[in-house]
Symmetry: C2
């Protein structure tokens, strides 16, 4: 077991230093590697396979609501980026600029897309003519670039992978409906597939997307008590349509502006999976998203028959993603690797088990072991994968709920933020001054105004004036 110890010792414990634990896990679990470009990461096979599983599941859910995929260019001419005032102010400071093509200087600089609203608007202004052309429900899977000063794998990188949906509708109501529909789709996906409970709500004016009328968000709580914005859905009203002149003739033959939405979700979610479910042995992946769900580890594999039976077990598990580790490493080392990589189930099979027609089955999330008969492997493994998925969600939900606090006045608020990492629910007058005050004096930001409102008190937790909304506050990534 010396080897085993070595691999675990390679990661800092999360209680000692959570950020370092995180960085250790993403590297040691071989999700990413650093590249020679500052802030750009390499997604290794396991990291990319998680993203592929996210894509496959989300893409099917998008298409079921009528969404079609397209692909827009990665470059945006500077003049196009500047067409919507708020939007350019929000993004221009953090874009990468292409100034030369081949050996020639370009007449107009091109930015590498930080997001593609402007391109979609330009496209929509060309292809939308009549009410018959609406709605347009387009999405693209691509990478975007934001020139961040400080970067962290998955959470904040110069380039990241995401999907961005962009829709155009005949009416404001249709756009609003689609904005909420996609937010709900995101939340359900995260809860069902990633086992991460989400708070759904609206962003404050200060925190909303550059150019949006309303921004909606799903917020999750990480193991260290910090919040992570996990996906956003924006209602643009007709602001972009007016800036880009996207009009259609309605049934009465009158010209109308379209109403638009956009919504995005990125590889940041992989950061959430790590920070919600991980432990001091490494990654813990929910079965539905795990690239490998079951690892079969033979014990004393040189003994006659062991590898054969191990292989039979693997072959039996046709309905899940299973691998057999038949390398010449020690079983202890193999256990430790399977744990580091977060594979939900380990099956151990050795000569003594074979004699008794059984094997040992070990849960990654709890460490629980059970002995099962070889005949029932398939049934038990499938049941256990379901159980693990459910238990992981419940555990994450309990953790979040037990780290969600209520503050009725500012002293209480400050005390909680200073000493108890988590969400704080508190009332707000909706004045930006209070939001700024809170941020300056506590470091917490307004995460969202949840759809599920509660009346905690009648007064704003900061200024004491009349409260309008209950807000989730917290420190965030």
């Amino acid at each position: 077991m010396a080897n085993n110890k070595k691999l675990v010792e390679a990661i800092t414990s999360m209680e000692d230093d959570f950020p370092q634990w995180y960085t250790d896990v993403v590297k040691k679990a071989e999700l990413i590697d650093y590249s020679s470009v500052r802030g750009c990461m390499i997604l290794r096979p396991d990291g990319y396979a998680i993203w592929e599983n996210i894509q496959k599941e989300l893409d099917a859910r998008f298409k079921a609501t009528g969404v079609q995929n397209v692909y827009m260019p990665m470059f945006i001419p500077e003049s196009l980026l500047q067409k919507e005032k708020d939007h350019v102010e929000g993004f221009a400071p953090e874009v990468a600029w292409v100034t030369h093509g081949g050996n020639e200087k370009l007449q107009e600089r091109l930015c590498v897309r930080p997001t593609s609203e402007t391109l979609f608007c330009d496209f929509y202004s060309n292809i939308i003519e009549s009410y018959r052309d609406l709605p347009k429900l387009y999405n693209q899977w691509c990478s975007v670039v934001r020139w961040e000063k400080t970067t962290r794998p998955f959470l904040r990188s110069l380039e990241f992978l995401w999907q961005e949906g962009h829709t155009a509708h005949a009416t404001a109501e249709d756009a609003k409906k689609r904005t909420i529909q996609m937010l709900n789709l995101y939340a359900t996906f995260c809860e069902e597939i990633l086992a991460i409970p989400m708070i759904k709500g609206k962003k404050s004016e200060k925190e909303k997307f550059a150019g949006a009328e309303e921004t909606y968000t799903i917020e999750a709580l990480m193991h260290d008590g910090k919040a992570l914005q996990s996906g956003t859905s924006h209602d643009f009203g007709d602001g972009f349509a007016k800036a880009f002149n996207i009009q259609y003739t309605d049934k009465e033959n009158k010209l109308q502006y379209v109403h638009q939405t956009s919504w995005g979700l990125s590889t940041r979610l992989i950061g959430a999976i790590i920070m919600v479910h991980g432990d001091n042995s490494g990654l813990v992946l929910p079965p539905k998203i795990a690239p490998t769900q079951v690892m079969v580890v033979p014990i004393m594999q040189k003994k006659e028959g062991v590898l054969e039976v191990a292989n039979t077990i693997k072959e039996k598990l046709t309905s899940c993603r299973v691998k057999l580790d038949s390398t010449d490493k020690s079983p202890g080392w193999k256990f430790s690797e399977q744990e580091m990589r977060g594979i939900p189930i380990r099956i151990e099979i050795g000569p003594k088990d074979i004699e008794k027609n059984q094997c040992v089955i070990v849960r990654r999330d709890t460490g629980e072991k059970a002995i099962i008969l070889l005949d029932e492997v398939e049934t038990k493994v499938n049941e256990l994968l379901e159980t693990i998925q459910k238990d992981m969600f419940n555990k994450a939900k309990s953790h979040r709920d037990s780290h969600t606090y209520i503050a009725k006045d500012y002293d209480e608020f400050k005390e909680i933020i200073a000493n108890k990492p988590g969400f704080v629910k508190a009332m707000w007058c909706e004045e930006e001054e209070c939001e700024n005050n809170i941020k300056e004096s506590t470091g917490a930001t307004s995460r969202c105004m949840p759809f599920e409102q509660e009346n905690i008190s009648d007064k704003c937790v900061c200024c004491g004036k009349e409260a309008k909304t209950m807000v989730y506050w917290g420190k965030s990534y």
Copy 2:
């Protein structure tokens, strides 16, 4: 039928002007739209869906050979690009340069990847240590940028989507084997799925990839008799490994350089599908790659019962990709749209058909009509999709074979190139001078030295000296 005529008239006939016909079809079939960046196209839903089908099928074939997907950054530091001499000479003149991030000038320029050999090499030099780490069989799906002066949708654009596989092996033999394996995989895929016959062979020294030891290619013949390089597979030997210092310790504990390959295939293939199968009514898509395989068009759809039966037909066709066109356009217009979009089968169903418990089934590739009973719709449609797929391949093969000529001397060669668009098979001495001569005086280039060699004559078609190889020559895209 006035409407019908209108849509078809919108495209130039291929006999009059093949390049214009091509441009008309990609626009009218709504595969692409132009963007506000020169040479960058927008892939619209039908264009992108063809690419998704290509991806899905190819990706499964890659994975079956042990390939894993990863994602590398889109930026390459200038110093990294320069590490392999031939490679940088080949690509530097046609890359886009990022010089500013946010408001700051970068210390080192970054190029937007034109291909990712240098990034993979840098990565491999970090992660490969021992023979146990080999082979590495990585692939990525992404977009790349090449700053071309003249662009054409799908065939040559500033940015295009592709996959690039990069592998590292212990021995030269393993690398060679993988290079050929992937070329064969490409050819089989194109023949089985895209119904396009391919010539497999090796590129000449002059035509090979910048930095490769050998480049292999699959070449297809378009309807106008021009050749299209449709996919390439490169054997790098240990050239990149030496430039990037990618070494491993072998079983005898000695340091060795790895041997590498790369192979790529792009949205250019969509251009091949259009130019091999299309006709004067628009696109003709092979069933296996068509986003929609069957379009049901109701006739007199306002008559009671018509839409219901049309819908029943659609519901019955569970094993194929089927749509029902119930818009308020005329049937003639719908026919013409379905033809323009290249949907392989049209089903027409009207009140008279319903009385007789039948429907009309029309092949897009031949225009043939047949009457079938409603009970047999599913069986007949599935059979017909298979038949169309096969027939389209055979038709493309006959066209290619009947446009492949043999030239024994230079006069004959020049006469064929000048008057008969197609491939010319002719012997070559393997001197670059003859290749250059032929290109200058005829416009034809060496497409490949096919695996299936024939001994046409003992003399080089150009200089008359001793011939070493039979070459396919042709004008190309």
